[in-house]
Symmetry: C2
Subunit: 75 residues, 2 copies
C-alpha cells in the first residue's frame, strides 16, 4: 500500500523523537503543540497544513521536505 | 529571503502548468479545484493541507515531495 504523506511524516517524526531520546510530551513541548495532537501526528492521523509542517521543521532545524520523504528505516 | 513551502509549491505548479500549455482555468479543471482557488495556490497564498497536496500531485502524476522542492528555474 502506498504510504500517505501523513503516515510518512508521522513515522519520520517518531524516528527523530526517539533518536533524540524525548518522550512524546517533551517532543510536543519542544514543537509547541499539545501532546495529544502530536500523538495523532505521529500516528499519521493529522492532515497538517504546509505552515504547520514548516513550524515543526523549523523547531527541529530540519528541511521540511525531508520530513515527507519515506525513511529507509520505515519501508 | 527564505521561500515558504506555499511559495515554492505555487511557483512549481505554475511552471508545470505552463510546460503543459494549460490556461489557469484548464489547470484548475484538471486538478478539480476552482479557478480562483488555484490562482491563489499559484501565487503562494494558500496554506494547503497534505491531503490537498497529494490530490494535486496524483492528478499531475508527480511525486508530491517534488512539488515542494525549489525548482532551479525559480531560484
Amino acid at each position: 500500500m502506498k504510504q500517505t504523506l501523513q503516515m510518512v511524516l508521522g513515522l519520520n517524526l517518531r524516528e527523530i523523537r526517539i533518536s533524540r531520546a524525548l518522550s512524546q510530551e517533551q517532543f510536543a513541548d519542544l514543537l509547541g503543540f499539545h501532546r495529544t495532537y502530536m500523538g495523532g501526528v505521529e500516528r499519521g492521523e493529522r492532515n497538517l497544513t504546509l505552515v504547520s509542517l514548516e513550524k515543526i521543521a523549523d523547531a527541529l532545524a530540519i528541511d521540511p521536505v525531508t520530513l515527507l520523504k519515506p525513511s529507509p528505516a520505515n519501508q
